[in-house]
Structure formats: C-alpha cells, structure tokens
Amino acid sequence: MTDIVATHRPSSGIAATLRHARYVVSENRVTGFAFGLFLVIVLAALIGPYVVPYDPLASNTTAALKPPSMQHWFGTDQLGRDVFARVIVATRLDFVIAVTSVALVFLMGGLAGVAAGFFGGWTDRVVGRVADTIMAFPLFVLAMGIVAAMGNTVQNIVIATAIVNFPLYARVARAEANVRREAGFVLAARLSGNSEVRIVLAHVLPNIMPIMIVQMSLTMGYAILNAAGLSFIGLGVRPPTAEWGIMVAEGAAFMVSGEWWIAFFPGAALMLAVFCFNLLGDGLRDIVDPQRRT
C-alpha cells in the first residue's frame, strides 16, 4: 500500500475548493471553454440590455429584412428590428427561465426522490405514482397542456418545465438514495445518534449532489429548449418579447424564402447556450466530487 505523504495544505474548506476548481478548469480545455462561455452568457444576461446598439423592440419598416451588414451585424427582421440586439437581450429571459425551472424542479423532484429512495414504504409509493402519472404523458405535450390551461406567462412556462422534469429528478435522486440506504456510513450515522431526517440531509444528500448537479446543468439546457419549443408553436412568450424560440418561429417562414438570418442567429444562440450548459455539467461534477481530487 503506498503511503501517502502528508502535505501541509488542508484538503477541505473554501480555499481548497477554489484551488481544486482552478486545477480542473486548467487541466481540461473543454471544461475551461465551457466555463468561459458560461461567463459570457451571464455577462450578456446581466448587462446586455444596456449595451446593445439598437432598441430590440423598435420597429423600422424601411429597414426590414436586411441581410447582415456592418450596421446590423445579424441583419434585421420583418419589422426592421435589429436581430443582434434582440438576440442579446433575449439571453436574460432565457437564462432566467433556465435557472428558475431548475431550482424549482430540484427542490420538488430532488427532495421527493431522496425521501422516496431513503425511507421507502408509502413515501416511495406516492412519489412513484405521481411520477408515473406524469410520465404517462409525452412530456412536451404535457408542458403544452399546462401552459395552455394556465396561460402563457413566463411563470407558467417555468412551472410547466418543472412539473415535466419532476419524474426524471425523482428517479435519479431515488436511485442514488436507495443505493446509500444500507451503506455502512449510514448505519454508522445511526450509531452516532443521528435522527433519520438528519441522516438524509447531512449525510446522504451531500453524496448525491454531484450527480444532481450534472443533472441540473443538463436540465438548464432542456428548460431553454422547452421554452423555445413552446414559443415556436405559439404557446410560449408573446410577441414582441425577445426570446430565442419565438424569434426562430417568426423567422421560420422566411427561411424557406431565403432570409436565413432571422431564424439562424437566435437558433445558433440557443444551441450555443445549451451546448455550454451540457459541457458545464461534466466540469462541475469534477469539481464537486472529492474523489476526483488528487
């Protein structure tokens, strides 16, 4: 057995986490790229609306349907609005939708799943039934139904996304909690006088977090795609709001007649954002999981 030489740096605490984060980011270029892109997105979301050259809502029919040029980097749409401005401003809305949906579904689905997996019995059965009922619907169609019934506002889109992702989170969390239910350290925690609730929150949950975080970043991507899809069929945000999905919908008709830029740039932005969140998930897992530390 190789004997580990004692180092002088502590292996826990905030400083160590940051140091490990820096190591992970520098070691894997793809992760570094994803983090960089993430920062760009956050930046665009924060200050985008203040620095765009044109008003995203101002229509100017004389300048309609102009291809990309030096004045309008991404061209203009059918109402003469600058596509670049609209794409940047839409970042904030889509980002907010992504983050809130994920937070909501993690709280609902994640905690329900952990309880179901750890305690079993009736909790498991009830959560299972709820998840099965939701899963019996094609998920996107269910989201459509919920938004149509409740009205297409951003809040309802977030709620619909959360509900639709509930079964997946519940299932992942349940499986992870189930594996750890009979683990030695859980038994040891009982011997140390921990109550069941404390074991779930303080002992089991921290072990599940890495997987949940990867799942959460993947869901952020899915939430944006979901909102965009809903907008595409007319059940998402309403015009003239700038949102990537509705911009693609509005530009779809023009794609067939050759004005490709109206739908292309928001679609490309969508793709880039989702791509970034997916790559981010893997990088985050490397940072959060202490077993990856050398």
Binding site: T133, V141, A263
Partner: protein
C-alpha cells in the same frame, strides 16, 4: 414472464386513471368558450346558451366527467368542434402519419447511434470516440425545430435536392388505399413504385430531423454502457479464455450492454412524441402532433382528450413492450420472483 406482464398491466391501470382525470381537468381549464366557438362569431347570446346546453357544458363538472367516462367505455371519444368529425376517425388517419415518421426516425437513429457508441467504447481516445462525444453533446443541444429549418434551408432552398416541406405527398399524387396507414407499406402493397418513391422523398428531411434529435441520447447511453461492460469481470474472463474478438464484443459485451439502452429507448420515445409536434409544424405533416396543437389553440377539448389518452395508452403499451424485451434479454428479470 406472464406474471410480470400481468403485474405491469395492473400497475398501469391507476396511471391511466390518473391520465384520464388530469386530461379532463386540464382541458376544462382551457381558456376560450367552445360553445361560442361552435356557434360562430355572429351568434346571439341565446344561441350560444342553447348550444352550451346541447353540448352539456352547463352541467356540473362531476356530471360532465361521468358522461365522459361513459362515452369512453363505448369507445366514443366525442367529436371535434372545429371539423365536426368523430375524434376516433381523425386519430385513425393521423396516427399512422406520425407513427411512420417516428418509427423511421428511430430506426435511422439507432442504426447510426448504436454502432457509433460501440465503436467509441472499443476504441477509447480515438477519433471515433471524440466524434461520438461531440455528436452526443451537440445533438442534445440542437433545438429540433431549428434542425428541421436548417435542413430545409440547405437541402431545399439552396441545393434543391429535397422537395418542398409540404406534407406527406406532393399535390400531384394521391395517397394509396388505406391498409396500415403507412404510405411506404401501403404503396408497396398496392404495387405502386412511383408512389413509394414520392412518399419516401417527402419523408427524408423530417426523418433526418428526428433522427438527429434522438441520436444523441442513444449514442451516449450505448457508449457509456459498453464502456462499463467492457471493464467488467466476465469480459475479462472471456478474453482470458481466448475467445475471438467478435464473440467477446458482440455475444458477451454487447448483449449485456444493450440492457440499459433498451430502457433508455422508452425515454427517447417519449421525447420523440413531443418532438413530433414541432417537426410536424415545420414540415406541414398531417400527423397527430399538429392535430393536438390545432385543437389546443382552438380550445377544442374532445380531440385533445382523445389525443392525450391515445398517447398515454401507446406509451403504456410501449413500456410494456420494453419490459418484455428486457425480460427476454435478461433472465434474472424473468426467473427471480
């Protein structure tokens, strides 16, 4: 095996009941007044009221629900308010349209994704491996409607290789006699080669769109599963016994690796059903997805209820099929109580 099937069916019943109730409530919660829609824009208040009574919409919800369930038991899914046709009829014509597209998309996707995943797992760190990972991540990131639009722009508008995205058949052709509802099969049965080619041409772009969409999760799962199985003890034993590479990879590794992939297929199918809605809009496909969207926008709840119920039943049947398939591959599921 039979016991397992029976048990699954029993478990599905409460889910279906839940679906029926939720659908009913959701559709009743839709905005818009179907009676007003039905009566027309010029109708008077009394006329609308009359229609409301005729449709039974003035009754309390519980009564309406009871009536709905009674009709269901007879196989009557009601009539669409917008077309006046019985919903069952509409579903019968539109379901095969979507099914043909989805099945074809799934077949294309699997025939690319599974070999890709296997090759990526058997040659880690190689070009194929990186390509697989990029495909998997990019595929998941692309919005399905965006893919469709780009394909239309490139292959129809720019290159002119594909026909216009105007539905299942060009206007010059009429559909083959309805046997399965699948144009490809029906045209072959009718012996009409030209019709077959025409149907196929219309199918190419939407199939490709759906295939690209479902490629990613299948490739990713196949790769991950193969990697895990290739590192397992029994594969080591197979190698140590000097078995040929084909035997090791296909007979020993792949069969075991397919198990999680089969389970993933259920999830992928659910995604595909949702993606159908979007793809049908891009390609003007007269399928069940566009049927549902039209009904949703018109607050026409009979077709909506029929659609959701059909989807749910199909999904239950599909999951059952997957469980049976799983049981065929893995004897532990069959034989252990």
């Amino acid at each position: 095996m039979l016991g397992m099937v029976f048990k699954r069916l029993l478990v599905a019943v409460p889910s279906l009941i839940g679906v029926v109730i939720v659908t009913f409530l959701l559709t009743r919660a839709l905005p818009g007044d179907p009676a007003a829609y039905f009566a027309g824009p010029a109708a008077t208040k009394e006329a609308i009221e009359q229609i409301r009574v005729k449709l039974g919409l003035d009754q309390p919800l519980v009564v309406q629900f009871a009536r709905y369930v009674k009709d269901l038991a007879r196989g009557d899914l009601g009539n669409s308010l917008t077309t006046g046709q019985p919903v069952v009829q509409e579903i019968k014509t539109r379901l095969p349209a979507s099914a043909e597209l989805t099945l074809l998309g799934l077949i294309v996707s699997m025939s690319i994704a599974v070999p890709l995943g296997i090759m990526a797992a058997t040659r880690p760190g190689s070009l194929v491996d990186h390509a697989c990972r990029v495909v998997a991540t990019a595929g998941v990131s692309l919005p399905v409607f965006f893919t469709g639009l780009i394909l239309v722009y490139v292959f129809y508008y720019q290159l002119g290789w594909a026909p216009a995205p105007l539905g299942r058949l060009d206007i010059f052709f009429s559909p083959p006699p309805h046997i399965t509802g699948f144009y490809l099969i029906d045209s072959l049965i009718a012996g009409n080669g030209e019709l077959f080619v025409a149907s196929l041409k219309q199918l190419i772009l939407p199939t490709l769109t759906l295939a690209i969409f479902s490629l990613a999760p299948i490739a990713r799962m196949t790769r991950a599963s193969m990697l895990a199985v290739l590192a397992s003890d029994f594969v080591r034993t197979a190698r140590a016994s000097g078995l040929a590479p084909f035997t090791v990879i296909v007979v020993y590794a792949f069969r075991n690796a397919m198990l999680p992939v089969v389970t993933t297929l259920g999830m992928v199918f659910s995604f595909l059903l949702g993606a159908n809605v979007l793809v049908e809009k891009v390609f003007a496909w007269p399928g069940i997805g566009s049927f549902a969207v039209e009904a949703l926008i018109a607050s026409d709840f009979a077709p909506l209820q029929g659609f959701v119920l059909t989807m749910a039943i199909m999904y239950v049947a599909l999951n059952l099929l997957i469980d049976v398939l799983y049981g065929l591959i893995d004897p532990r599921v069959r034989l252990e109580a």
